[in-house]
């Protein structure tokens, strides 16, 4: 189960809470794309994510690439150890670029 809350503004922050797996695909994509409408950039905050696997990671990678192609870069912040470990395992930095993690 994934919960999302968004802080509005020119660089809105989508705060994620819960588990990022196959079940969360629609919720994650919908929340980040909604936040990206009219925004210059979007921040995704992982501080309350308790679990992520390759399905959740795949959704995040895909939305980073899609939004970048639409001119809205995405950045990630506050990665807990489990998320950081899975992102390292899947070499997410190579897939989406170091700039997504520039603030970390």
């Amino acid at each position: 189960m994934l919960q999302t809350t968004t802080s509005p503004g020119p660089a809105p922050t989508v705060h994620l809470a819960g588990e990022l797996d196959l079940d969360c695909a629609d919720a994650l994509r919908a929340a980040v794309f909604a936040a990206a409408r009219g925004a210059q950039t979007v921040v995704v905050d992982f501080s309350d994510v308790q679990f992520i696997d390759s399905s959740g990671t795949g959704i995040f990678v895909r939305l980073c690439l899609d939004l970048r192609s639409q001119g809205v870069p995405v950045t990630a912040q506050n990665l807990p150890p489990q998320v950081r470990g899975v992102f390292d395992m899947l070499r997410v930095r190579e897939l989406v670029g170091e700039e997504v993690f520039a603030g970390i």
Partner: protein, 271 residues
């Protein structure tokens, strides 16, 4: 068996045939004592004489070395990669048949050739055991059953992880070892939902020296064709990394696949 002949300019007919050709993993086993070949996964229909397969299997056993060949009929793009994985007294023969034009999605997802290479390497390193139907029947019920679910919805994954996590803690798994094993179980369960017909059974068993997660679906088997689909409009959940995560991080993996479905045994050693 020789290096592949033919190339990308061989003509439209070969290209059309290649575009329709399914990607498959087939496994047969040569048993030294009886000098026999028996199919373990798929039909193992390569058009290669059994005597040739036996000869190479015998050589692999004698040399105790993993051997791999590329096999291609003339004027075709279909390439079979044939791997001989020797054990003590028998040799697994893996045939990895791929569509030469569609080995990679061309995006961030793991390519088909990479996925199949992972499988072959894991078998060669004895991290992955290919199980016959008889071996699966014996292994899947070993030990004491701790818990079991029928999973047919992604919404059930989180609860399953929570319950399994608590049981693993009771079995003495702590910290990062438990977290990594749970991740691998989650990956295998997601594969059941994505590629295994949309549902399956997840159970946790305790053996003398390990805990074992058994994930069994009733899907079409590992046919790989659906791994070459273009990304869906609303996003692509599968990056093709689930199996790699499992093979890289689980102590011992058993695999049986066929028309009746796929079963994975994920073992974490406790001694």
């Amino acid at each position: 068996m020789t290096a592949r002949a033919g190339g990308p300019n061989a003509g439209a007919t070969a290209v059309d045939e290649a575009a329709c050709h399914p990607a498959t993993l087939q496994v047969c086993r040569y048993v030294a004592r009886s000098r026999t070949l028996r199919t373990v996964i798929g039909r193992f229909d390569l058009g290669i004489p059994g005597s040739d397969l036996k000869r190479h299997a015998v050589e692999a056993i004698r040399r105790k070395e993993f051997m791999a060949y590329t096999v291609s009929p003339p004027d075709h793009f279909d390439t079979d990669e044939l791997c001989f994985v020797p054990h003590d007294g028998w040799c697994d023969i893996l045939s990895i048949r791929t569509n030469g034009w569609h080995r990679h999605h061309g995006d961030h997802r793991r390519g088909l050739n990479e996925i199949l290479s992972d499988l072959a390497a894991a078998v060669a390193c004895a991290r992955l055991r290919i199980l016959s139907a008889e071996e699966l029947a014996a292994e899947r019920t070993r030990g004491d059953l701790l818990v079991a679910w029928e999973i047919d919805d992604a919404a059930e994954l989180a609860q399953a992880r929570g319950t399994i996590g608590a049981m693993l803690r009771d079995c003495g798994l702590g910290g990062s070892a438990r977290a990594t094993y749970l991740l691998c179980i989650s990956e295998a369960a997601s594969n059941m939902l994505l590629h295994g017909g949309g549902s399956g059974r997840l159970s946790l068993r305790r053996l003398d020296d390990r805990v074992r997660a058994v994930l069994a679906d009733r899907g079409p088997g590992l046919n790989f064709v659906n791994w070459m689909e273009p990304p869906a409009e609303d996003g692509q959940a599968s990056m093709g990394y689930g199996l790699k995560i499992i093979l890289d991080n689980v102590d011992s993996v058993g695999l049986h696949t066929g028309d009746a479905g796929t079963t994975l045994l994920l073992d974490h050693m406790t001694t």
